[in-house]
């Protein structure tokens, strides 16, 4: 059971307020959450509920207004920007809705971008094989379909063997079929490497894949569902 495993992220009472004066937005209003080693978590919630904000804080891209986040017993909320950069470099894999590949680099080179600076990476070829793109390694992003580009982005995220994989609406810009292919790739990583994975989505169906589904609404955790048996991405119905 997930609760017995080691805690990767311990989130305590974090809030996030954007803006100053009269125009403040409370994106997060007090989140408490533990994420465990190897866990697959889905964040579910309406647009503007604070999911991305939470994910960005976990990944060291943004800082909380109050509260603390611990990553394997270290409090990352206190870290300076340079340390956060190193944290992302060594431990975090990101996947975004818009794939954010470097258009001037081929698929292989996009992955190499990460493997060149990571501590114990796999080879770009291995990473691309994980997402079934070994055939298209020397193509530029402009020569790949949306789903293929997203899979390159996943390969790039996991090539460093990150401790956590954070995906913000990875299928948001894709059609269903392609989206399933992408989710399958994410799930396979989670399964094979035991990478703690957090996926944001609006789509409740995806939740079937997760160990836990965290419902967020208006900056607060509404409820947490625990799936006793995960279904794999291929059998998801939309």
């Amino acid at each position: 059971m997930a609760e017995n495993r080691r805690v990767v992220f311990a989130v305590r009472g974090i809030t996030k307020v954007y803006g100053t004066g009269g125009l403040t937005v409370h994106a997060l209003r007090g989140i408490d959450l533990d994420l465990h080693e190897g866990e697959f978590v889905v964040l579910l919630g309406a647009s503007g509920s604070g999911k991305s904000t939470l994910l960005n804080i976990l990944g060291g891209l943004d800082s909380a207004s109050t509260g603390e986040v611990r990553f394997r017993d270290e409090e990352i909320t206190a870290w300076p920007a340079a340390r956060l950069t190193d944290f992302r470099r060594d431990h975090v894999g990101f996947v975004f809705q818009f794939y954010n590949l470097i258009p001037s680099l081929t698929a292989r080179e996009n992955v190499a971008l990460v493997t060149d600076i990571a501590r114990a990476p796999m080879t770009p070829e291995e990473a691309l094989r994980m997402v079934d793109l070994q055939e298209r390694m020397d193509h530029f992003p402009s020569q790949l379909s949306g789903g293929e580009q997203q899979r390159v982005a996943i390969a790039r995220a996991i090539a460093k063997r990150p401790g956590v994989l954070l995906c913000d609406e990875p299928t948001g810009a894709l059609d269903v079929r392609t989206g399933i292919g992408v989710l399958r790739a994410i799930e396979r990583i989670n399964r094979e490497f035991g990478t703690t994975t957090v996926v944001i989505t609006h789509n409740a169906v995806i939740a079937g894949m997760a160990n836990r589904v965290i419902h967020i609404s208006d900056g607060l955790i509404q409820r947490i569902e625990v799936n006793e048996s995960r279904c794999d991405a291929g059998s998801l119905k939309w």
Binding site: S52, N56, G59, L61, D62, A82, T85, D86, R88, R89, D90, V92, G93, F94, F96, F98, N100, L101, I102, P103, S104, L105, E109, N110, A112, L113, V114, D116, I117, A118, F140, P141, S142, Q149, R156, A157, K160, A173
Partner: protein
């Protein structure tokens, strides 16, 4: 719908200000480059217009003559015959003589030209002297004279002051009753000088009878000016005048185009025309290019906004107009800045001209039409810079514009073809593929920076060129301390007399003869200097060939200066016809033996014995170079002045100092302008190009930061881009600058002075340093831009 539109339009206009405020760095840089181009244009045109206008006004008002001639001495009755030449409407004859002058408290040699005046200005039919202060001098009473205004001011003289002038070998005390200016001395060049020197050369006017008496020339004249009627044939008049004056020792008549003062103004105007066209054209093209690149980028970023506006029902024309208005704000900024800067520069530059060119009317004249022309020019520029960008962005159908753009298309680059580069890092690949993807833009960026570097080279070219003249002329060539001129050819024994003066260490005699050279259809009037045998006299003025090696005139034949050679299109071996403008004007043929480097304009040298053979006369001297013990300089000068034969003395040290004083300040100012402009372009081009690149690549760079690249690792990609531009631009710029300087040297070189094409190593060094410094500053801004990238916002945006 129609009625509500104006309100919406006001909202869309507000967007102009927001967009501009967000781009304020780029806006400032583009406006600055525009301002510079426009300022040079306005300043150049203002000077040109002012000079032209003042000259035309002054010539008309003062009845400036059309034809001029000097003669040894002709009886006044000849003027009646001159008047009969067809086409001649007015004749003014008189006397002009070189003099040496002593001004109290000023110990250096001063020379001048004294010219006869009639009773009143109304009696002057041509070249009227304008009295600026005081009154017209009256004959007989108290030896009264007018003094040229610049001389009067340089010596801080007062009306009623007296100066010592040696008239025909006798020193006399003359009283200043006023100051004057005349159209034939708008610029007062000392004979053989490079530049006006109001402390050491002046023009003086004396009542005609007094001057005739002093020089024993009663009833005679030695110079004459002619006014021509409409439709007169100047060439024919000159030919007939020459024939008339020949028996009296005519020295050859010439038109305005060869009149020294007018020649200088004409040359100056020619230079100004070049200056007010080429540099502004390049500046403004660069500005148009920057405008185009920046606006294209902005409109690209705003593609979705444009699509939304279109879907609201805005027409393509209305949206296009919106961006044109935005560009107009920039153009207006540039026009305002350029007009202000140009008006100021125009004033400063006309002020500089006013030191050399003296008009009794105000020289500076700002023409309002010029500013209107400038504004029109800028409007054209705006259209050129904006049209393409607006057309391409506005013409995309809204449905397409609202969709996320597909990733930019890149191809494999040379990296993938050159085996050695296969191992290049992804960052290096990103850099090189980016450069290869936009070759036109990269080239234009490089060219812009190169142009800035070339501007820096041009800025220091004047200094190098003058340094070279000083080194050659004052250093290598002129080994003497003083030059002495005699009233008329003197026997060789005067050299013994000079050498006998205590403090004179050595003397070199020279015989100068006025001549007219002819080769084919070309002819030039100048003097030939016969230089003494080096075995009998120490050479005090060295002749140098074009490689700066010492040369001696051969036993036969002429050495001619580069300037004379190019004016006549003569080469070594050519046979020149010499018309000797003395006695009965014999004609001889002499071969060109070689070309020499000097900066005295049209000059020619022969060995004294060869010259004497050509003249068929015995040895005589008209000029001597002296080396003087510096401790006894003053006594020597005093003794020379007392000698009745001596017409003038000039000290090398003094003329060198005045040369540096006069030119130094102007040079410094022009260099400053040049460096400011070049730096503005460098910063403008680099900053703008890199801002656009930063904007285009912000998504990539943010992505790299997100996946764990450190700031420096990301920054280096843009800095590398910048480095490639700058490193390609510098050698290109140095090359371009060298070519431009060569062109400048060519175009500035006239019969009167030659601008040597010389560039020192420091000039290149300084240009490189300034461009590197400008790049460094831009790199800092760029670095700050990368630091400020909002990672989250960039990743949320769809591009």
């Amino acid at each position: 719908m129609r009625r509500r539109l104006p309100e919406v339009v006001r909202a869309i206009d507000r967007k102009i200000w927001r967009d501009l405020a967000r781009m304020k760095g780029q806006v400032g840089a583009i406006a600055a480059v525009m301002s510079c181009g426009l300022a040079i244009f306005i300043a150049g045109m203002t000077c040109q217009g002012s000079l032209n206008r003042a000259r035309a006004e002054y010539y008309a008002e003062s009845l400036f003559a059309h034809v001029f001639a000097a003669v040894k001495s002709a009886p006044s009755s000849v003027t009646a015959r001159i008047r009969e030449i067809e086409g001649v409407s007015k004749v003014q004859s008189g006397i002009a003589q070189p003099v040496t002058v002593t001004v109290k408290d000023f110990t250096e040699p001063v020379t001048g030209r004294i010219i006869s005046l009639p009773e009143a200005v109304e009696a002057m039919d041509l070249n009227r002297v304008t009295v600026r202060r005081g009154r017209w001098p009256v004959r007989g009473r108290d030896r009264e004279i007018l003094v040229s205004e610049p001389f009067f001011e340089a010596h801080r003289l007062a009306l009623g002051d007296r100066i010592q002038v040696v008239l025909n070998g006798r020193e006399e005390e003359l009283t200043i009753t006023g100051t004057g200016l005349s159209p034939d001395f708008i610029i007062e060049m000392p004979p053989g000088g490079f530049l006006p020197d109001s402390l050491r050369f002046g023009v003086f006017w004396m009542p005609g009878e007094d001057l005739e008496a002093a020089f024993a020339m009663e009833g005679a004249f030695n110079q004459v000016a002619l006014g021509l009627g409409m439709g007169a044939n100047q060439e024919e008049v000159i030919r007939q005048l020459d024939d008339l004056l020949e028996p009296y020792g005519g020295l050859g008549a010439f038109g305005r185009e060869d009149q020294l003062s007018d020649r200088f103004i004409a040359d100056e105007l020619k230079q100004l025309r070049v200056m007010s066209f080429f540099p502004p054209a390049i500046f403004l093209s660069i500005a148009a290019y920057l405008l185009n690149v920046s606006l294209s980028r902005l409109m690209h970023l705003q593609r979705p906004q444009i699509a939304v506006l279109k879907s609201f029902g805005y027409s393509t024309g209305e949206i296009g107009w919106h961006y044109v208005k935005m560009a107009s704000v920039l153009i207006l900024l540039g026009t305002a800045g350029g007009s202000l800067l140009g008006a100021w520069m125009g004033r400063v530059m006309t002020g500089m001209y006013q030191r050399f060119y003296r008009f009794p009317v105000e020289l500076y004249h700002a023409d309002p039409a010029l500013f209107a022309l400038a504004a029109a020019l800028m409007a054209v520029l705006a259209i050129a810079g904006v049209a393409g960008a607006v057309r391409s962005a506005v013409s995309i159908p809204p449905a397409v514009a609202m969709q996320p753009e597909p990733p930019a298309v890149y191809r494999k680059s040379i990296l993938d073809r050159i085996p050695m580069l296969r191992g290049a890092s992804p960052s290096a690949r990103m850099l090189i593929r980016e450069l290869e993807r936009r070759p036109r833009r990269v080239f234009l960026g490089i060219f812009g920076i190169a142009f800035a570097s070339s501007g820096l080279i041009m800025g220091n070219f004047g200094k190098d060129s003058i340094q070279y003249i000083i080194d050659v002329q004052f250093g290598l060539s002129q080994r003497f301390d003083a030059a002495v001129t005699f009233h008329r050819p003197a026997p060789l024994r005067v050299i013994q007399d000079l050498r006998a003066i205590d403090g004179v260490e050595s003397v070199e005699p020279v015989r100068a003869v006025p001549v007219k050279f002819r080769l084919g259809p070309r002819s030039k009037q100048t003097t030939v200097q016969g230089v003494a045998d080096p075995e009998r006299f120490v050479r005090l003025k060295q002749l140098l060939d074009v490689d700066r090696h010492l040369v001696e005139p051969p036993r036969e034949g002429l050495l001619i200066s580069v300037a004379l050679a190019s004016a006549l299109r003569a080469q070594a071996g050519d046979l020149l016809t010499l018309e000797i403008l003395e006695r009965n004007r014999p004609r001889r043929e002499v071969a060109v033996a070689g070309i020499v480097e000097d900066f005295e304009g049209l000059s020619a040298y022969m060995s004294l014995s060869a010259l004497n053979r050509v003249l068929r006369e015995g040895p005589s001297v008209t000029l001597a170079f002296l080396r003087i013990d510096p401790a006894r300089e003053k006594e020597v000068y005093q003794r020379l002045r007392e000698s009745p034969r001596v017409a003038g003395v000039s000290l090398k040290r003094a003329s060198m100092r005045s040369f540096l004083d006069t030119i130094g300040e102007n040079l410094l100012r022009m260099r400053l302008f040049n460096v400011i402009f070049a730096t503005t372009i460098a910063v403008g081009v680099i900053y703008n190009s890199m801002r656009v690149v930063l904007s285009e690549r912000s998504r990539e760079l943010a992505t790299m930061r997100v996946i764990g690249f450190r700031h420096g690792e990301v920054s280096v990609i843009l800095q590398g881009h910048l480095a490639v531009l700058v490193l390609c631009a510098i050698p290109l710029g140095l090359g371009l600058g060298t070519l431009f300087c060569l062109a400048i040297a060519r175009s500035l070189t006239t019969d009167l002075y030659r601008v040597p094409f010389v560039l020192n190593r420091e000039t290149f060094g300084v240009a490189i340093l300034v461009v590197l410094a400008a790049s460094f500053v831009c790199a800092l801004f760029l670095d700050r831009g990368i630091r400020r990238l909002d990672l989250i916002a960039v990743l949320k945006a769809r591009d």
